[in-house]
């Protein structure tokens, strides 16, 4: 067994708060620059403002967006790993310290319905665990903005609706999200599983690098087709019309029941702050 003290995890989360919130991840920065070249007029100006924002953010160390998000962490735990200490607490402490040290916005309320009181430390994070083989731990973390989160959707389609049904649902969701989701966006799609799994797959899809190629040729093709259709919607960067509404469509899938075709669309804005650390 490999023993890992949870302080290591706490430190990784704290450190990620400073590295994540002040820059575009490199894949996003690159996709944004490429997309800017294809635009003209107002849409080009929109990209120029966003790229200038990213420069100022890293130079002056100002958060790239004021919605510094709610932290979502996926912990993939090697089956030969034993944690020393309370892992949930370590992750939440990492968030607390990181958000305070870096003057990030506290955007979490406790009771979501009645009290809605700010927890004042941006904790708790949303944490998912699963097992992997071996003795490593992989931590994937995102600081998710909720302007785009609020535009996400799930549908339980009939299997007969098939590929067309999926396409229509994704397109409708993006259309409704429109300018409110801070386009250009990244569209995470989860297909299959059950009512709760499909959105989780969509979330995981958002963690993939934009340069990733879907290993399944059918889904790869569907991603490309959907991206082309979305970019024909003429929503454009910041909703000001233009060729770039989305930078990428990422699909994850899982087996499902003979009677089902769950589809979830999780939308992320261009400020897609995600990172992956292997211990």
């Amino acid at each position: 067994m490999r023993l890992i003290n949870v302080d290591t995890i706490k430190e990784i989360i704290r450190e990620s708060c400073s590295s994540l919130l002040f820059n575009y991840p490199s894949d996003i920065e690159e996709a944004m620059s490429l997309a800017a070249e294809k635009e003209e007029g107002r849409a080009k100006k929109a990209f120029e403002l966003l790229l200038e924002n990213s420069r100022i953010a890293s130079q002056k160390h100002i958060p790239i967006c004021q919605d510094t998000g709610m932290v979502i962490v996926f912990v993939h735990v090697g089956k030969e790993v034993l944690f020393e200490g309370n892992i949930d607490e370590a992750i939440n402490d990492g968030v607390r310290i990181g958000y305070r040290q870096e003057y990030l916005r506290q955007s979490v309320v406790d009771d979501p319905l009645f009290k809605r009181e700010n927890t004042k430390d941006n904790a708790p994070a949303i944490i998912y665990y699963d097992y992997i083989d071996g003795d490593r731990v992989i931590i994937e973390m995102m600081a998710k903005g909720f302007g785009s989160e609020n535009t996400s959707k799930i549908a339980m389609l009939k299997p007969a609706q098939g590929v067309e049904g999926v396409k229509n649902f994704v397109l409708d969701t993006v259309k409704q999200a429109g300018p409110n989701a801070c386009p250009p966006m990244i569209v995470g799609v989860g297909i299959g599983g059950s009512f709760e799994l499909a959105p989780l797959l969509a979330k995981k899809a958002l963690l993939r690098e934009l340069t990733d190629v879907n290993p399944d040729p059918n889904y790869h093709q569907l991603e490309d087709e959907l991206l082309a259709l979305i970019n024909q919607l003429n929503i454009g960067p910041l909703g000001l019309k233009g060729k770039t509404t989305a930078l990428k469509v990422q699909i994850e899938y899982y087996p499902t029941h003979i009677a089902a075709l769950p589809v979830a669309v999780n939308i992320c804005c261009h400020v897609s702050r995600h990172t992956k650390v292997v211990i």
């Binding site: 403002l49 924002n53 958060p63 967006c65 916005r105 302007g147």
Partner: protein
Amino acid sequence: MRINVNTEQERFAKLHAGDLVYLSGEVYTARDAAHKRLSKMIENNETLPFELEKNGIYYVGPTPSRPGQIYGSAGPTTSTRMDVYTPTLLDRGIKFMIGKGRRDEKVKQAIIRNKAIYFIAAGGAGALYASCVKKVEAIAFADLLSEAINKLTIEDFPVFVGIDCQGNDIYEEEN
């Protein structure tokens, strides 16, 4: 085009949906919780923490500012959530709003009725807008933290006209 939002409001009428404008002057910050309190105060006929007449509101909840920094990251938040409160504020004199995203029909009608204007700032450009804020004055609701009302002095703050005084909407316009 550069406009002073306090002294050159007569120029609002000449702007069209989609125009890029650099705003300077003073604007008040308010988002969800502050709007809720303002509208309660209006209902109860209480004195408001700032004059609505001829002033503007920026929908923003910034990050806390670091020591030595004027203002934290300060991009726009989604305006749609303010729609229920906005017509009343416009009817009581608010002249301009800065936010992001769509507005509903009632807001649009109130904009036309009051010859007001809705500007959209670049969603996600918090650092850029922070650097356009030159002065911050606390006005009310400090307990709301990032949602408190502040008076900002802005300089060359880049926005697009979202809904112009005639009610033309950039998001709906076909072009």
